[in-house]
Symmetry: C2
Subunit: 442 residues, 2 copies
């Protein structure tokens, strides 16, 4: 009896095409982060449960993969990259220089209900600047988010920015601060349920008049400056929080990013631990997918593990959601070829010759492989086609003696016969790769 090769619900295998796409996305993001001086870190997937759950009691606790290890330790698999980062900064504070800028792209685990299309193993991509509460750091996170999405060649990106403190001050002004949790929860659903339902629900909590003010506040639209003006009008004047937003707006304008960034007071990041600026990111054409990159500024990262406190600002990209967005936009990268050239097996006596050709091509930066078995040429071509390899080389005894190869352009089913080995450069291939979609004479 063989064992059923099944995988757990909510977990995934990645086939080569999918994994290539993930890796190329991750490289693009990493290179973008490096351009801003961010450095990579990593932490264990398994940690002490106490370290990951802290005092516990949250919704997350029920979802965490938790067990007792061989040494009777209570351990758990990480469910995000934020908690391990806090623990990391508390532990390594003296080995790092503040302000510290890190990114971390890795897997996290949650035993969630998979019916909502959620995965139990998924990849997060976090980046933060800790050890400073300057506007410059806020600005750097926003410009880096913008830069990253531009590098992914999305048709358009819109970063929505607000300030959590401004919202709190508004609730204080109307003496409803004690309802802040319920109000935030209601406001968070605005996009889903619409303005009327939100107004009705808010009125039940804080009264109809205040509900109108709150809705006016979060619905405010216009240029960055206009929205900040509205905020200050409803607050009865400028406050440090609106001044921070104005400072950012001026800088974003100077950086010519004002077309792609809006001040959007409806962004509150619900019950998260943010205390300063908050942001969400929407890609043009797939706004329905929701924010592909969210974050904000927080007062303190490490107080759970340390007597010190450490402010910071950061954001997180959900890689799976981003891939879904890019796929919906049709820019997720087409079927990539695993190699540029397949060297066919014509004559097993010439095995060394084939591998020597391969070594030469590789030294010119051409990715190639030798078909390992003796098969009909048609089967070897079919193999190349299925793997989207654009060229096949054919070399029998006759070509070997002449020091040449025949090149098969698979897309056009054309043969280029008697090509000198020394002519096989990337430029040569590029010339005929362009012909792939044309229909040449055979």
């Amino acid at each position: 009896m063989s064992i059923n090769p099944r995988i757990l619900k909510g977990f995934r295998d990645f086939l080569p095409q999918q994994e290539s796409l993930r890796q190329s996305l991750i490289r693009t993001l990493e290179d973008g982060f490096a351009a801003f001086g961010f450095e990579p870190i990593d932490t264990p997937i398994l940690e002490y449960t106490e370290v990951l759950l802290g005092k516990g009691g949250g919704e997350t606790d029920k979802q965490v993969y938790r067990f007792t290890d061989h040494g009777k330790r209570d351990v758990a698999m990480r469910f995000d990259l934020t908690v391990p980062f806090a623990r990391y900064m508390a532990l390594h504070r003296n080995e790092l220089y503040l302000p510290f800028k890190r990114y971390h792209i890795s897997k996290v685990f949650r035993g969630e209900n998979t019916q909502r299309g959620r995965y139990r193993e998924f990849t997060q991509c976090d980046f933060d600047i800790v050890g400073t509460d300057s506007a410059s750091a806020d600005l750097e996170i926003i410009t880096m988010m913008h830069h990253s999405f531009r590098r992914l060649h999305v048709p358009g990106v819109e970063i929505h920015v607000s300030h959590r403190g401004v919202f709190n001050r508004l609730l204080e002004r109307y003496n409803v601060r004690e309802h802040s949790e319920a109000v935030l929860r209601t406001v968070d659903k605005l996009r889903k349920v619409g303005a009327d339902a939100t107004r009705a629900e808010l009125a039940d909590i804080i009264g109809a008049e205040t509900a109108d003010r709150v809705l006016e506040f979060i619905s405010s639209r216009g240029t960055m400056t206009e929205v900040i003006d509205t905020m200050e009008r409803l607050l009865g004047g400028a406050i440090p929080e609106t001044e921070r937003l104005r400072h950012l707006a001026v800088a974003l304008d100077a950086l010519e990013l004002s077309d792609d960034v809006v001040i959007d007071p409806s962004i509150t990041r619900g019950l998260d631990y943010y205390t300063g600026v908050v942001f969400e990111t929407f890609l043009h054409g797939v706004e329905n997918i929701g924010s592909v990159c969210s974050g904000g500024r927080y007062d303190d990262l490490i107080s759970l593990y340390s007597k010190e406190s450490m402010p910071g600002v950061g954001a997180s990209i959900g890689l799976d959601r981003l891939i879904a967005a890019l796929e919906e936009l049709g820019i997720a990268g087409n079927s990539q070829a695993s190699a540029d050239v397949l060297i066919t097996m014509q004559d097993p006596q010439l095995l060394s010759h084939y591998h020597r050709i391969a070594a030469t091509l590789r030294s010119h930066g051409i990715r190639c492989e030798v078909y390992p078995d003796e098969r009909k040429l048609g089967q070897q071509f079919a193999f190349a086609e299925r793997k989207h390899i654009p060229f096949a080389l054919i070399c029998g005894r006759q070509e070997y003696d002449a020091g040449t190869v025949n090149v098969r352009v698979l897309a056009s089913r054309t043969n280029l016969d008697g090509i000198e080995l020394s002519a096989l450069s990337p430029a040569f291939l590029d010339r005929y790769r362009d012909d792939e979609t044309k229909s040449l004479e055979s």
Copy 2:
């Protein structure tokens, strides 16, 4: 009371320098694999215990992290990348084209005794060609191993190749095949305990005379052809297994790799599941660290999960051991700078200007960051020095008005004053980066 930010024994945090090195190593390996047409895959970290342990009963079982999940499933964290690959091939056989060439670089988990310097979470790098038993595939794995280590700029690499079947045939010839496990175990310790102790132990198992023959066999040295000649003499003639080795030797010679590959009959890969060629890899200067890349050919990968069988050949690099080797060789990459340029904060009024300079530099491929806080210039320089950033830009109101910046070359503590912004190219920086070690006039 704050929570102790400790991590589990056998698990590690990676600081930015370490993680940068790991990532750049992984990229180098990936690019090398891609040059051979290998494609990446990924599998879940958590799987059904039955899938990972099969019929169970091995030494591994005691080390595996195993628990019951929220859905009462018996689950385990993967302890290698071979078993998940077998399961993957059985499950996705019809979505993939054989011969299939994959690599997989990811973390695995074993609750091992950490006293021997072993980690409980470590990274493996596996690559295989499955669906063919051709000599061409054996050759491709060996040349790819060679290619990969060359790309890492190691001073020298020596790949030791043998054939598991040849050893079995030798034991048959002397009618001691039933002692094969005990003999393999003894032979495996040869490097550690020396020839005399091995001879004595072997004599206890198979008698003094046969022990001498076995030792003569595994101690055989010389050119690839000479060793194969010795093998055939001791076996009483050529057999298919020695013919496969001879085929490889001829091809490796033609590929000019014979200086870096030896036939070494002492390589048996102990009790592993290999059935054909086997190999280990040693780096010049750090032979004591042991093999940094081992593998071989196997008859069947998937029979545990399928009625089909699937031959293959592959190898695995232990990334942690490889890093230890590169560090011992002093080529593990020096402290890499997190950025090329630190733009200092001289005047907070010029915040937008600093970020605009940063954006311009990035568009030229220069990695840079803006120091976010107002601090004394000396402190900002010290920050750059500690992060190995070679240049700092200084721009106060006066320089802003003049459209220039002052450039501080940190290593030589030199200032280049009044540099036009448009002059700040990678070439400009490279010119002065070279001066880092010189002592210029200030």
